[in-house]
């Protein structure tokens, strides 16, 4: 391949930017990963060296001594439950917004999606009080409810568009075949809106899995603690055992990375098209 000499400056700039981007994105994580296999002494004296051996002792310690599994299960349960509830109710609403007309439709839709522009934490105190009044303070149910509410604007945005894209002829022929409202929704439209539903689901799951602020103010006991909140307690508990600190960090961030790697294209596409941070 002959490379035009005038292309050189552009190539140099491009690859510098690309290298820098990769470095700032994974260097900190790589450093955490390598350090999680080193001894305290190596971490303090020799931060650039590679670990002498790969052993998972620190990971085992975090897992067995600090109820990591408990927090992990809490996070998983809360994130999955809230995402499923959210998907179910917003899919129904998205279906109506996408396929039916009624008075006040566009007003309601705008009202639902404009909430995206209110900073999420600004509603913290009233939500705290509502959860108190429902007698749900320090329960998993509280977080499930609150997280399910977060995805509203984003999910409706994505889902309405997926239902609009499904031809109306399908509904009409199903209607002629004698299918009722629910069957047309569940058996005809839902399967065709699959990709929109999974996109919304993935984005909501990642948000719920990573949420910190509301988990911090709405729960207090260990049995309802999620991973992002537990991390701060790890930080204090391991303040002089760095190896474990690094191992715990890796264990907290790994599930998110794994999920992302599995559905990379979809996450990127949806962020791009919705213009909203995942």
């Amino acid at each position: 391949m002959i490379i035009n000499i005038r292309k050189w400056p552009e190539l140099i700039v491009s690859y510098s930017v690309m290298t820098f981007t990769v470095l700032v994105s994974i260097f900190p994580i790589l450093w955490i990963l390598l350090s999680s296999f080193k001894s305290n002494k190596e971490i303090l004296n020799d931060p650039f060296s590679l670990p002498k051996k790969i052993d998972f002792q620190a990971y085992m310690d975090v897992f067995t001594q600090y109820n990591f599994l408990g927090y992990f299960m809490n996070s998983m349960f809360i994130a999955i439950a809230s995402t499923l509830i959210a998907l179910f109710i917003y899919t129904m609403a998205g279906y109506i917004f996408g396929k039916f007309n009624f008075r006040g439709k566009s007003f309601l839709f705008i009202l639902c999606t404009i909430t995206l522009l209110i900073p999420g934490y600004a509603r913290a105190q009233p939500i705290f009080t509502i959860i108190m009044n429902l007698d749900l303070y320090d329960t998993k149910t509280a977080l499930i409810l609150v997280y399910a509410s977060f995805g509203m604007a984003l999910a409706l945005f994505i889902l309405r568009l997926s239902f609009i894209a499904i031809p109306k002829d399908l509904d009409e022929s199903a209607l002629i075949d004698g299918a009722g409202f629910w069957r047309i929704f569940w058996n005809v439209n839902m399967p065709l809106a699959k990709s929109g539903i999974s996109t919304a689901g993935i984005l909501m799951f990642l948000n719920n899995w990573n949420e910190y602020f509301y988990a911090l103010i709405l729960t207090t006991s260990e049995k309802n603690r999620t991973l992002p909140v537990a991390l701060e307690f790890f930080n204090e508990a391991f303040s002089y055992n760095y190896t474990r600190m690094f191992a715990a960090l890796m264990m907290v961030i790994l599930p998110g990375i794994v999920i992302y790697v599995l559905v990379q294209e979809q996450v990127q596409q949806s962020v791009a098209s919705s213009g909203v941070k995942g």
């Binding site: 552009e10 190539l11 700039v13 491009s14 690859y15 930017v17 690309m18 981007t21 990769v22 700032v24 900190p28 994580i29 450093w31 303090l44 931060p47 650039f48 109710i89 129904m92 609403a93 039916f100 009624f102 309601l108 009202l111 639902c112 909430t115 522009l117 209110i118 900073p119 999420g120 934490y121 600004a122 509603r123 913290a124 105190q125 009233p126 009080t129 509502i130 108190m132 509203m152 209607l175 409202f181 929704f185 990573n210 602020f213 103010i217 991973l227 991390l231 701060e232 760095y242 960090l249 907290v252 961030i253 998110g256 990375i257 992302y260 990379q264 962020v271 791009a272 213009g275 941070k277």
Partner: protein
Amino acid sequence: MKIKWLNVWIAAFLAPTVLVLALFYIVPIGTVLVTGFMEWDGLRAPEFNGLNNYIHLITYDNTFFIALRNILLWSLMAATLHVGFGTLVAFVLYKKHIGWRFVRGVFMVPMVISAAAWAIIYKLFFNDEIGILNHMIRSIGFSDFHVNWFFDSPASFFAITLTWLFYAVYVTLIVYNDLMAIPKEVHEAALLDGASEWGMIRHINLPLVKKAIGTGIILSVTARIAGFEEVALTSRGGPGNDTYNITLMLYDGIVNYNYGYANAAATIMILLGILVLLLINRVFKMNESTY
């Protein structure tokens, strides 16, 4: 299907969403706006106290002005450097040099990690004893370099800035999406007219992705107004009140049962958000169509 039944179905399908909208959005936002003018500790009934919360917020000490200054500076950096970097990466990826997919994939990773974990990663990264940053600086010749990044002034402000400054992948993705949407004919016509590479970027691509850049600015500035983890888990607003922000004021108000005060802070957050939206809409003419 009879029309009457259809309306029942429509209402039933919308009901849960309307309930969520009312309970978690309309009621809370209304509460925030109203109780910002009230004395409320969560036990006794709220009582109107006029502008007292706002006056307290502003005059109690100079915390509010520090928070406002921080948010202003961070927002400016987000709108320029942060969005600028994200846009630059988008333009580079658009060239599709070998490895561009990998770069795009990796750039997303910090975004799928919880912000809490990312803040703690940076706290360790900048730690004077074990952090690799200071070790690197010491190893290239500044052997006496010791800065406690999150605990020294003014280092703390910049350390917090670095936790988000380069992580602009969502700007990159939105801008990239708009770049891909530019019709091929536009570029072909420009080439026929003898446009240079640089001229093409400046006079065609940049103006055509203007709205994406505007959206990126709105998103990133709103994120700075509502920033929490990167401060709460690193410097906790310190040293002194150096890195304080409005979300921390809000948080302090809630945990100290000073709800009126918390909601006055929340109202200011909402107003700042709307202000940014209107401003960017105007500057970037977001409502006009691109083509």
